[in-house]
Symmetry: C2
Amino acid sequence: MSTRKPIKLGLSMRYLGYHAAAWRHPEADPGAASKLGHFLRIARTAEAAKLDMLFLADGIGLRTRDEPPGALCRSHQTAELEPLTLLSALAGLTSRIGLVATASTTYNEPFHIARKWASLDHLSGGRAGWNIVTSWSEAEAWNFNRDQHMEYDLRYERAAEFVEVVKGLWDSWEGDALVHDKASGIFFDQSKLHVLDHKGKHFKVRGPLTVARTPQGRPILVQAGASEQGLEIAARSADVVYSASHTLEAARDYYAKLKGRLAKYGRGWDDLKVMPGITYFIGRTQAEAQAKLDQLNELVAPELGLSYLYGQMGDLSGYDLDGPVPEPQDPRIRSMARMALDLARRENLTIRQLYSRIAAGFGGRVVVGTPESIVDDMEEWVAAGAADGFNICPPVLPVGLDDFVELVLPELRRRGMFRTEYEGTTLRENLGVPMPANRYAAARG
Amino acid sequence: MSTRKPIKLGLSMRYLGYHAAAWRHPEADPGAASKLGHFLRIARTAEAAKLDMLFLADGIGLRTRDEPPGALCRSHQTAELEPLTLLSALAGLTSRIGLVATASTTYNEPFHIARKWASLDHLSGGRAGWNIVTSWSEAEAWNFNRDQHMEYDLRYERAAEFVEVVKGLWDSWEGDALVHDKASGIFFDQSKLHVLDHKGKHFKVRGPLTVARTPQGRPILVQAGASEQGLEIAARSADVVYSASHTLEAARDYYAKLKGRLAKYGRGWDDLKVMPGITYFIGRTQAEAQAKLDQLNELVAPELGLSYLYGQMGDLSGYDLDGPVPEPQDPRIRSMARMALDLARRENLTIRQLYSRIAAGFGGRVVVGTPESIVDDMEEWVAAGAADGFNICPPVLPVGLDDFVELVLPELRRRGMFRTEYEGTTLRENLGVPMPANRYAAARG
């Protein structure tokens, strides 16, 4: 069946999982987010299952406003390991799975990013990826000498230039520059070392990079931008887009809009993979799946749950949690609250039900089902031209990954939708995206 | 014998070793500086030998001026792995040895450094160290939006503030803040999470750090500063000083000057370890040791050798390499050349002999000898109050480390000067430096 083309699968593995109450799950180790062993267990399970990549989202600030009071101290999304060091540690302990870490173009320097990710690509034998983000919160700005976060357009302008500088640095050494001729004493061919000498609006970076050309030519580039500026960066440079659509219609529109721009940059339709994030609650029956979600939702303290609504709806702690969601009094809040209110009205949700929706998957799309219904859903998205694969965000780690591997993967494989063995040794080979040419070697022909 | 107190030993493991021709050694793999396996082999040898720590110096720029022509392409000190990612990869593959990576306070942000090193400390179970440098070269400035490097005093002023911010961020979470009470739903005790809110001349950093308090309280701090400003940072904060004295007299003076400042900061004499860097050429006989050095020196191409003199003496390529070192014609150069010229005159060195001295150990102190004479030298330095241990910089890796482990360590142990088993599980315990108190917990008493 032609729609059953093999899909790509990433695993998002931040903290103890994507449910707000993940740490209170009976099988969860609440301290695991600071432990290498926790992530190693996950990485080995994911690699044995032949998943494409491990993915670590990131933020570089902790919002310490406690609204409503008592929310912050109930959140496990507070203390964790830093993504680059964690994935580097996993590089030596795994052999095939991709390692994608997030870093912000707003609070980093291109030389550091180019160098560290090139190094991770060498260390892992060609399995590194960089998820490009621009950051948005004041809590992050405050940690980096700023009073407020950088304005959106400026952030994306900086990001676009940042990515081009990093790509330029990754071309510093041609693939065959290091000749290592012991007899003559020539360590490298100087005509194949290049000085970028970038001078732009946001950056002046001379180069060359001090890391040799990497096994993947350059690390895989991942992006999530949905805005005009984000789409352009993705169309020009990204190998993977981590999208966030909640509905099939929105996802299909986004997919077409993004892929339609690839030709402009001389790229083919399949040179970029679109992989929406999704949280699955999986049961052998629908009731079992629902029970897993309900069990976790019951562990969301009201203080914590209400904090997910606070930014949009203000303080709802004076209302009956099992009553209807009130219309906000403050007209300034009313417009921000529109999406949440529409959802509540459409599905007749109580306050508790509304915050549970957000708490279940970090705000991302959530599907509750059996292996069959979940794979039906995946197949529908792929057949509709809405996704090339998915980034799984388990509600609780590692047990949510175990559920996926034990229950969903066999069904995917039964339908011929997922590999039984890695196609190659690098992330690039497994994703099936082309090797970039070195610009200088290409120019020489 | 009272002077025979146990010493501390670090291993500097940059590139393929510290000799300029290391890569041409018959047993060297010239591509090894980009390979995890190379460093893993070294790390495991060093850990089996119970060395205190692996140390990675760092620069964040490549000087591409080729003076005299033909020098650059003969240097192996060009392409390498980035220290933090490399040591993170080794964290999961080792269990006791310390992992010390260099990062510059001039071209980084305190929040990133605090976060990444805290993460490495968790990943390694308490074995992380940060070597604090300020960078000095134009090649580095050019990679980070600057036309020239920052002036010395300003660099050190920034460094002093940077270190205080990082230490402050490392105190964000008290050691017992994460209570993880599943029953009540309280993840952490909010009274034990602290916002630094630093506002200084160079940095505004709010905090808190998003990484929990680390196994060592904070990572080990290493410093090398010899200037007044450097000494103050070291006396106030460093656990280890990586010194660079070439003579016993200079080392003894430096040691006394540095340790004498500790009391001012309420620190004990032994709370900071002074560990000079040194390159050993080791033979069962003096002749065998000398032959190892001669073999490598013969592999230093004149173009490369002369480049070590170029910065101080200008272009000497028109002279007979086996003739005397000429007095520079340019009077501006004459004063810069004084140290090299004095050495050449004192020991009656030819041009080739002079550059070979520098090429042998990256400009650091070099000792050629038998295990007995080398340990005599170490013992003399320790007894004289010039060192608490040493950072070994093998001329070629891994064979130079193998020589040290096979020949020198048994002699050190025979004299009771080096451990046969690690004292603890953390670098801090093995170095024997005190655990820092969390400032907020200490204030509460």
